[in-house]
Amino acid sequence: MKPDEVLARAAAAPVRHRGTVVVSGVASDSHTWNLVFLQLVIEELGYTVVNLGPCVPDEVLVERTTALLPELLVLSSVNGHGYQDGLRVVRALRAAPELVATPMVIGGKLDISAEFDPRRVAELAEAGFDAVFPDNGGGLAAFRRFVDTFPAAPRLTTDSGLPG
């Protein structure tokens, strides 16, 4: 669905609408199926999804997220560069005053190792992500639980003042 259509639909949304979630790939990643799948997962949890698709440049991601002010921003990457791309773009996102408190998460295959280093999870969190869901170790189940218990839990964490 096009962002404009989403806005139109959101304006006329029924009362059960839980809000809008933005799903996006990162700049260097041309994979699509992970984004399509996440859109369906999140829609099934009651949200409207704006899917920005693959290869989204940092400035486009900041601009679209600022315009849409979603309940949650979900970044997904599977090409092995998600760690670097994620660190860079989350700092750009947090630098926008409108997005200081917007919940942001990242998941997927975030580097080229078989097991994602927990220290890198900490680095991504410190750079501004509210949660990190590496592909190994039940990332998807944890992500589902995270979104399903939303917005109470992540609101608390973001309000508690993460850096960025």
């Binding site: 699509t32 199926w33 992970n34 984004l35 399509v36 369906l40 099934e44 693959p54 599977v78």
Partner: protein
């Protein structure tokens, strides 16, 4: 051993490289199959080794130079840095290596018995085509839609302009006595879950686009999908539409072995590859691009590629004779013909027709997230593993598609469909029939590969 023994010796001194299309038509079709790898290496020495191994594989082969992904997206500075710092590239940087280097890579390999095609994947291919023309390299592939919408964010209108300019520039090779060949990538799109009729229509439309911009040696692609009977029907529909619509005789069909989530076991990978060869031979297709046992894990080695080429060639030879094209209009033919006709009626300029078609949703790739794709169509696999429309969106198919509205695609059904072929071919109990064992037991494995 590939190539006619000795044919290279009879080529006159003034001639350029052989026409890729004419070569494939001479050696493929009528149950013979020309096989080809996907293969690209960053260093000239490795690239040369790969081409030599392809040439001397025990199969009728053509060579491939796959370009690296920085060259594909036009980040030539990143190529320079990688070459300077000794970082491995995932393909051959044709634009950056100087001409003498590439000439040395090809010397004694390319001849009348072994043409080579350059494969890339760029919606902004000016530098690539400039290098091809400068090197008199006369075979490549792509398309204004198929190299744009599934990847990245280049505007479709820009890609149409780029591909029109590049095809015309490439056609200029004829001034040097060299026949340029272009293959459509339109038979692949997102690799999986696009119903075959739209793959067929896109391949035909891109071939017509190339013809309109001066290319006279063409091939049309079709990527193996999820049901052999449906694929056979689709390739016959593709052949019939090309015969009806392409104003040249010099065209052939290239089958891509499955482009979706690949089996993880060697046995499963080989059986799936064998089925692609069966599809190719059954439908009189002239050429096939193989996949290897390493596909689900990493970039394949040269040895794995050679094994895949030889397996595909042998499987093609061993395939049972097919029954020929279906009587009358198949369902896939009716749908593909309706799509092509609707698009061609929009504008006499095929580039503008393609743009209008996507704007109106007359063409609409299921699950494709590009801003210029309407994204209102949906598809699913039925109980036989055939790809069906779940939602037609605005496709002009309601007169020819019986069902096709209102089936809900869920995250778990999407996962099951995406991993269907992997599940089916990794199963230790080979299916005698062509139907699925439609379970969802593999869960989320493989999404996003």
């Amino acid at each position: 051993m590939s190539g006619d023994a000795g044919t290279g010796k009879h080529v006159s001194a003034c001639s350029g490289p052989a026409d890729f299309g004419r070569f494939v038509r001479a050696h493929g079709g009528s149950r013979a199959l020309v096989v080809q790898p996907r293969m690209g290496f960053g260093t000239p020495a490795e690239m040369r080794t790969g081409l030599l191994a392809t040439k001397y594989a025990d199969a009728r082969t053509v060579g491939t130079i796959t370009l690296d992904s920085y060259t594909r997206v036009g980040e030539l500075g990143a190529v320079d840095r990688a070459l300077r710092d000794g970082m491995a590239l995932n393909g051959y940087p044709l634009v950056t290596h100087d001409r003498a280097t590439t000439t040395a890579v090809l010397a004694g390999i390319v001849d009348a018995g072994f043409p080579v095609q350059v494969r890339h994947g760029s919606a902004v291919p000016h530098d690539i085509f400039a290098a091809l023309v400068a090197m008199r390299m006369n075979a490549t592939e792509g398309g204004p839609v198929s190299y744009c919408l599934p990847y990245g964010r280049t505007a479709l209108a820009q890609s149409v302009r780029n591909w029109a300019e590049c095809a015309e520039r490439f056609a200029g090779l004829r001034e040097f006595g060299v026949e340029p060949h272009l293959e459509t990538f339109g038979g692949c799109l997102l690799g999986q879950l696009c119903p075959p009729s739209q793959l067929v229509a896109m391949s035909v439309l891109e071939a017509l686009f190339f013809f309109a911009h001066g290319i006279r040696s063409l091939s049309v692609s079709y990527a193996q999908q999820t049901n052999l009977d449906q694929d056979v029907e689709a390739v016959f529909a593709l052949r019939r539409l090309c015969a009806e619509l392409l104003p040249v005789e010099n065209w052939h069909v290239v089958i891509y072995a499955y482009m979706g989530l690949y089996p993880t076991t060697d046995a499963g990978a080989y059986r799936l590859l064998g089925q692609a060869a069966e599809l190719a031979v059954t439908t009189g297709s002239e050429r096939m691009i193989v996949k290897t046992v390493a596909e689900s894990r990493r970039i394949p080695t040269i040895g794995e590629n050679v094994a895949a080429l030889e397996h595909a060639s042998a499987a093609g030879t061993a395939a049972a004779p097919g029954g020929g094209p279906p009587e009358g209009d198949s369902q896939t033919y009716r749908e593909a013909a309706a799509l092509v006709e609707a698009v061609l009626n929009l504008d006499e300029d095929i580039g503008r027709a393609l743009l209008t078609a996507f704007a109106r949703g007359y063409l609409d790739i299921p699950y494709c997230l590009h801003p210029d794709n309407r994204g209102r169509t949906r598809s699913y696999l039925d109980e036989q593993g055939r790809l069906q429309w779940a939602d037609l969106g605005s496709l002009p198919l309601s007169p020819v598609v019986r069902s096709g509205r209102g089936r809900r695609v869920t995250s778990s059904s999407l996962l099951a469909d995406l991993s269907y072929m992997q599940r089916k071919f990794d199963s230790p109990w080979p299916d005698s029939g062509r139907g699925p064992a439609r379970s969802v037991r593999t869960g989320q494995r493989g999404v996003g590969r």
